[in-house]
């Protein structure tokens, strides 16, 4: 493929009815049909008059079919707000969202309903997000009450519930149990089965394993990975646990105070961070491996994230940045890009997914980058 940039409006392929194979075929055709999701310059503010807070400030993200995008950044940086925009729950003040080439915010009525099916959500707290008075089967099948044509008929629904239960590693007999009879990990599986009920193309996972204990977290991560393999579903995966993101994500977007400050392939971002904030974040996260013991490698930042009501001028990270210079206070930093194609990978997949950072003085990678 000679072109490195996808056409902005890829032809949306015709949507067949819900069958598990549909998404898989779509995944194969990813090259032809453009990105599944493309977000450009999305800005979202909250509040009134002078007390306005900028939760998202010109955010760009892009995601292909069957891909997983990791979204990291500290509390309040706008991850959940972005998730709500992707789900159509929050209308951006500026910028565009294209899902399969279509602007979901322009849709009405039946078209909107049809679109809603395709993007689902898994929440952080498996305890709070499920209605305690509904059985597992009711919870999983509830979305079909709104989207009536997805699985018509009680018999078919029963059968599909059982398929979904087994897909997330639960038993048939679990269908008639209630949330309080399940452990946290099992509840999270029900949440996932429910998200899958409408056979979505994209699942936004907001801290899906943060409330779970380590030994259970691994089970849920395995379920999510397996679904990606089998159904070709794409994920936006929000987590503050960097080791989880590294394991699950193909690409990573790092946010700071409402802006994307770094983006790239997971390995590039983790092993050769270019933005000083990313570098600090990576070095601050404790790692198990004793040979990586923090010690002098650790970049200890001063202070905490500034208030989103009062964003610093120039570069918003400058109040904590160990590399800050005068320029950083006066001028907004540029987006610098670096091509990251492997030397031996000159063929078609030159999607030019470059590694970008928003910084006047980005860190230079070691020799690995020729």
């Amino acid at each position: 493929m000679p072109e490195s940039r996808m056409p902005e409006n890829g032809t949306p392929e015709s949507r067949a009815t819900a069958t598990p194979t549909r998404a898989a075929t779509a995944a194969d055709g990813a090259e032809e049909s453009g990105p599944l999701l493309e977000v450009r310059g999305v800005t979202k503010t909250f509040g009134h008059g002078r007390r306005r807070l900028t939760a998202l400030d010109g955010v760009d993200i892009r995601l292909g079919r069957g891909e997983t995008l990791g979204l990291v950044g500290e509390s309040g940086c706008g991850k959940s707000t972005l998730a709500r925009v992707l789900l159509g729950l929050e209308r951006p003040d500026a910028g565009t969202v294209r899902f399969d080439g279509t602007d979901p915010f322009a849709l009405r009525g039946k078209d909107l309903l049809a679109w809603r099916r395709r993007v689902q959500m898994v929440f952080q707290d498996p305890f709070a997000s499920l209605n305690a008075r509904m059985s597992a089967a009711d919870l999983i099948g509830e979305p079909w009450r709104t989207h009536r044509d997805v699985v018509p008929g009680a018999k078919a629904q029963d059968k599909r519930v059982r398929e979904l239960l087994s897909l997330v590693g639960l038993r048939d007999s679990d269908a008639h149990r209630y949330p309080n009879e399940f452990s946290g990990g099992q509840r999270q599986r029900i949440g996932i089965a429910r998200a899958l009920a409408l056979d979505p193309d994209l699942i936004v996972c907001d801290e899906p394993v943060s409330a779970l204990d380590l030994s259970v977290q691994a089970q849920v991560l395995n379920v999510l990975s397996e679904l990606r393999e089998r159904l070709g579903v794409a994920y936006v995966f929000i987590s503050h646990d960097l080791s989880v993101v590294r394991y699950i994500a193909d690409r990573v977007t790092v946010m700071y105070l409402g802006k994307v400050i770094e983006h790239g392939e997971t390995e590039d971002v983790f092993d050769h961070p270019r933005h000083p904030y990313t570098a600090a974040l990576m070095s601050a996260a404790p790692v198990l491996d004793a040979s990586h013991a923090t010690g002098d490698r650790e970049i200890l930042l001063q202070g905490e994230v500034p208030s989103p009501f009062d964003i610093p001028s120039g570069c918003r990270f400058r109040t904590r940045c160990p590399r800050a210079e005068d320029l950083c206070a006066t001028e907004a930093p540029p987006l610098v890009a670096r091509e990251t194609r492997d030397a031996d990978d000159s063929h078609a997949s030159s999607q030019a997914y470059s590694h970008t950072a928003l910084c006047h003085f980005p860190l230079e990678a070691e020799s690995a980058w020729a």
């Binding site: 204990d213 030994s215 990975s225």
Partner: protein, 338 residues
């Protein structure tokens, strides 16, 4: 009000600063009495860090609260000993125990917001230990509080001393709690998940602060956490808890390199850090038992890949080997080969 005389004198250099032996705690629940902590033992010397590692609900906080004498009324210590400076605090009167809180034993709680008094300026709260234990005047205590706030990195401490807890960020509140806890130079500081609710970069600041304070004051630190990486980087020794019991303990380096309990092994394996994307994580199946349904034999039997008849019949005891390590498993030896 000088009460220093009642505090036992500091221990000999090589004696443990804190020695917990066979601690048992029962809880009254609507479903009847259950055992939340079942025979927990560990000890820690000054200047050393011991990690209590385990998943939520395994009894870490109950253990910590029993040690400092702050258990909820629904819970009773039903056995064991908690020795500081050679004396068993469980045998002391409430007044004697209160005198230990601050100069000998101190705790930083999991939830900084609820641990601070919301209607009192923070300077007053931080100065309080000096008034109660050292008999300082209000003004002297206030000066001490400002000194401590400076030490833990609160900017503009003199002005901020008049602020209330909700006016501080999560990281700052945790610093305030730490300031209070180290005010009287305790022998032993217990920190219960001190960074769990904080952002990664702030977590790193707090861990650094704890380490600096520990070095400077030669405290013994009991670090309670569910984070294996924190244990690996920060602790000398580790006590792995499961369902109210200790399943393994020993020097962190050895335990993590070569675990002798299948649960420790399972935890280490399920960390995504070493996993390869696209390959399943080796997860431990199932989840920890409810307190009311802890099996009679081995507590880990429902999830253990090595389980067999004997494990169902007989609860393994924590067996100590010569190298300062112990594990509660009938078949530890096989784990090395598995």
């Amino acid at each position: 009000m000088t009460t220093n005389t009642a505090v036992p004198s500091p221990p000999a250099a090589d004696a443990p600063a804190l020695d917990v032996e066979g601690l048992c705690v029962d809880l009254s629940t609507p479903a009847g009495r259950v055992r939340a902590v079942d025979g927990v033992s560990f000890s820690v010397r000054r200047g050393r860090t011991l990690a209590l590692l385990g998943e939520s609900g395994c009894g870490k906080s109950m253990t910590a609260l029993s040690v400092v004498g702050l258990l909820d009324p629904a819970a009773d210590v039903t056995g064991g000993a908690v020795r500081v400076r050679g004396d068993d605090t469980l045998k002391m009167s409430p007044a004697q125990r209160r005198r230990l809180a601050g100069p000998v034993l101190s705790i930083v709680f999991q939830d900084a917001l609820t641990a601070l008094n919301p209607v009192q300026p923070v300077g007053r709260q931080i100065g309080e230990p000096f008034r109660i234990h050292r008999g300082l005047s209000r003004r002297q205590a206030h000066e001490k509080a400002i000194e401590l706030m400076t030490r833990v990195g609160i900017p503009e401490p003199r002005q901020r001393a008049r602020s209330y807890p909700h006016q501080f960020s999560g990281g700052m509140r945790q610093r305030l709690l730490i300031a209070m806890a180290v005010a009287l130079d305790p022998d032993v500081l217990i920190a219960d998940e001190p960074t769990t609710a904080l952002d990664v970069t702030v977590q790193a600041q707090i861990m650094r602060l704890l380490r600096d304070l520990q070095d400077e004051r030669e405290m013994a630190l009991v670090l309670i956490t569910h984070d294996l990486a924190v244990v690996a980087q920060r602790a000398d020794d580790v006590v792995v808890m499961y369902a109210g019991t200790v399943v393994e303990n020993g020097p962190v380096r050895d335990v993590f390199a070569d675990p002798r309990h299948p649960y420790t092994r399972g935890l280490l394996d399920s960390v995504p850090e070493h996993a390869v994307r696209g390959r399943p994580l080796p997860a431990v199946p199932g989840s920890p038992p409810e307190l009311s349904a802890v099996p009679t034999g081995c507590v880990f039997q429902d999830r253990c890949p090595l389980v067999r008849e004997r494990c169902v019949q007989e609860r393994p005891t924590l067996r100590t080997s010569g190298d300062g390590r112990s594990a509660a498993c009938h078949f530890s030896e096989e784990l090395a080969r598995a």
